[in-house]
């Protein structure tokens, strides 16, 4: 009994130690910054999950790499520790080493980036998914924001048009205001098509517990419950847990909608047939554009850049051709949102 308990305790401690999947793998030698002033030294600080999430963080990397292709330079990538308590250190260390610009990926940096930006007024910062107002509006910070609710509205339209049972679902990773934007848009879109539609909505973990973004097993259980209850299409905004939603869809003959990147391209070939479409969030475009502005000296600072349907910052993926037949309907709604005829809510 005692031995078993000790073993259990040990394994939990180990689990607590087991941190980010893979931290390093940065492309640069780092070290002395500012040697060649012409050389672009980009610092990239990831959200929990780090590089290799096939989603959000990887999309930021793609944007940085595209920018480097265009402008030259190099990037150093940092991942936070397991409990992400060292976010501020990631930013200060990058600033100390002379990296400029520094891009923080994820809304979680809102707590710390304002303070760091004020400490290093000569460095240009950007935060993906973070509004500068949340960080105290420092002059050298740019927020790269997305109108997730608009893209999710189109996902809701597609789901409602494609659903045969009149019953769809939404799986959120963690019940945060950001993910609630996805939910709000999705529900509004589905109801715009079919006001009677039944929409199951569930979050994997409550606010404050970020495991919901990285728990495919629970994602599968939650989605399976929806398919069993009669839903035939489920949209997930659950990061790494989304793979579980796809598995549940495959197991129950349903379909699913991916998120952030074109997940049809990144899932196992066996699961491709269930990924009806994906709500694209072009973090790569936003990051690339920001670096381009930095190189040209055009970063305004102290303001947010919002990427929406109009600027193609969000949208629906068409890989697989599953939504080709309803493309004209989707484009109709898209135009109405751009024209302002439809205002998409941001809270459920």
């Amino acid at each position: 009994m005692k031995a078993a308990a000790l073993l259990l305790a040990g394994s939990m401690a180990l689990a607590a130690c087991a941190s980010d999947e893979e931290g390093g793998g940065s492309a640069s030698g780092g070290g002395s910054g500012g040697g060649e002033s012409a050389e672009l030294q980009i610092g990239l600080a990831f959200d929990t999950g780090g590089r290799g999430d096939r989603s959000f963080n990887d999309s930021a990397v793609a944007g940085v790499e595209a920018a480097i292709e265009e402008h030259g330079g190099e990037v150093t990538e940092l991942s936070p520790n397991a409990d992400a308590s060292n976010r501020a250190d990631l930013l200060t260390q990058l600033a100390d080493q002379g990296f400029n610009p520094i891009i923080a990926v994820g809304f979680a940096y809102s707590d710390v980036i304002g303070e760091v930006a004020e400490q290093y007024p000569d460095v240009t910062f950007a935060q993906v998914d973070g509004a500068v107002a949340d960080a105290g509006s420092p002059e050298n910070l740019t927020g790269l924001l997305f109108a997730e609710e608009q893209g999710s509205f189109l996902a809701g339209v597609a789901a409602a048009l494609k659903s045969e049972t009149g019953h769809i679902g939404f799986v959120g990773g963690v019940e945060t205001p950001l993910i609630q934007k996805f939910e709000a848009g999705y529900v509004a879109g589905a109801q715009a098509v079919n006001p009677q539609i039944i929409i199951d909505r569930q979050y994997i973990s409550p606010a404050g517990d970020f495991s919901g973004f990285n728990d495919p097993a629970r994602g599968q259980i939650v989605a399976q419950g929806m398919y069993d209850a009669g839903a035939d299409i489920v949209y997930h905004a659950a990061g790494g847990s989304g793979i579980g939603v796809f598995q549940a869809a495959a197991a129950s003959g349903g379909r699913a909608i991916g998120v952030d990147s074109d997940q049809y391209q990144t899932v196992d070939p066996a699961l491709q047939s269930v990924v009806m479409t994906s709500m694209l969030k072009r973090v790569d475009n936003a990051v690339q554009t920001f670096i381009g502005e930095f190189v040209d000296g055009n970063v305004a600072g102290g303001a947010d850049e919002v990427y929406d349907l109009e600027s193609d910052g969000v949208g629906l993926a068409t890989s697989g051709g599953f939504i080709d037949d309803i493309q004209s309907d989707i484009d109709g709604y898209r135009q109405q949102i751009i024209d302002g005829a439809i205002t998409v809510p941001t809270t459920p």
Partner: protein, 411 residues
């Protein structure tokens, strides 16, 4: 001589564990094609300017404080043979309640801080008390109930944060409680650096360091110099023997869990009073589980736990420079994991070595004084069935005395 031997014996296991961890992770790195010596050099490099070096020190200390408190909370229960796996839930629930209460009132400085601390300790103690009550009344294993209560505590904390205690505006990306007014903040200790003529970086050293240090001393005294501590350790070493000598086992379970919980309630306080001033969805999680590893490495004694917390904090800080120097940060994860495993193994090895040494000593010393009584007596205890009982009792009491000794010299 014997004091020296005891100190060596007490230090042998953790040192062995750390050396083994360094060697094993060095080998792993070598296999992966990474130069381990360069990696260790990067880990030990605190930066070029004095300001960077002091900042690195502050980062390590600030990280070590909650780990130390967490280790203490786990160790108090461990010393009695109780596994409080619920430290995680206890401190999260305690911190959100303390943050809410702290934000709701305005009091003169020290009183305000005291109120926040007391609320945190009380909430966590009550939560841990549930585990104790379940154990003494229904015989529920504290391992199971404390793990399960973690989930409930996290759920309640999340409900409170997003519901009644929500202080952040609608639509803000991070949900938080209302900010604690400035009278409830704890000032940093950076003045100390000026005193020693060191650089004074913007990063503040938590004032809670002083409280944590005092707490460590208080718990060392409580465990080793009081009746309560004796009962606690006696129950941990042999519940039946303790009961036979008049210790109220059920009462001890309740008292120990309450104490362990009260200490657990303090884990989130350094961050709360030092930097965040509110409980948020991003409040550092997982410290309760790390505390188990820290307590194991520190062999459940306060001085050892302080050392273990500093080591873990040092490893944690190394993550960032390692990534900047283009080394895999998983190196640190490997070292941490290997240390925990190595500690469990080396504790056992050290126990056996100590046992064998004790047996040898008694075998050497045995024949001389009791020669006339017949050598069969001591012979039996070392070779025969006596060795079995010896293995069960001797080394453990030996370990208890060793830790006494070390704290005596430490304090």
């Amino acid at each position: 001589m014997s004091v020296l031997r005891r100190i060596v014996a007490a230090l042998a296991a953790p040192l062995l564990a750390i050396v083994a961890a360094i060697v094993i992770s060095g080998l792993v790195m070598a296999v992966l094609g990474v130069d381990p010596f360069e990696v260790f050099a990067v880990m030990l490099d605190f930066g070029d300017t004095p300001s960077q070096q002091v900042t690195a020190l502050v980062v390590i200390l600030n990280r070590a404080i909650p780990l130390f408190i967490s280790g203490l909370a786990v160790a108090i229960a461990f010393r009695m043979g109780l596994f409080n796996i619920g430290v995680e839930g206890q401190y999260r629930l305690a911190t959100v309640m303390a943050a809410a209460v702290g934000a709701a009132v305005v009091l003169p400085g020290p009183l305000h801080v005291l109120l926040i601390v007391v609320v945190a300790m009380a909430v966590a103690a009550i939560w841990a008390g549930i585990v104790a009550v379940l154990k003494v009344t229904r015989g529920v294993s504290e391992v199971i109930s404390s793990i399960m209560l973690n989930f409930i505590a996290l759920g309640i904390a999340s409900f409170l944060l997003t519901g009644p205690f929500r202080g952040s505006p609608e639509g803000a990306s991070i949900i938080s409680t209302a900010e604690i007014p400035e009278s409830g903040w704890m000032p940093g200790l950076n003045g100390v650096f000026d005193l020693f003529g060191l650089a004074n970086p913007p990063r503040q050293l938590y004032g809670f360091l002083v409280v944590a240090a005092l707490l460590g001393v208080a718990i060392a005294i409580l465990l080793n110099r009081t009746r309560f501590g004796f009962d606690l350790r006696a129950t941990g070493l042999s519940p039946s023997a303790a009961r036979a000598s008049g210790v109220d086992a059920r009462g001890m379970v309740v008292k120990t869990m309450l104490l362990s919980g009260a200490v657990a309630g303090l884990i989130g306080i350094p961050d709360l009073l030092g930097t965040t001033h509110s409980y948020t969805t991003d409040f550092t999680a997982g410290l309760g589980f790390l505390g188990i590893a820290v307590a194991l490495l520190g062999r459940n004694n306060p001085a050892g736990i302080a050392f273990a917390a500093l080591l873990f904090a040092f490893l944690d800080r190394a993550l960032v420079p390692l990534q900047i120097a283009d080394f895999p940060s998983s190196v640190v994860t490997i070292i941490q994991g290997v240390i925990v495993l190595a500690v469990v193994i080396s504790n056992e090895v050290a126990r056996r070595v100590a046992l064998r040494a004790a047996e040898r000593r008694s075998a050497q010393a045995g024949p001389a004084p009791v020669a006339s009584d017949g050598s069969a007596g001591p012979g039996q205890t070392t070779d025969g069935g006596g060795a079995g009982t010896g293995a069960g009792v001797d080394p453990t009491t030996g370990a208890g005395r060793q830790t006494d000794e070390r704290q005596g010299t430490g304090a």
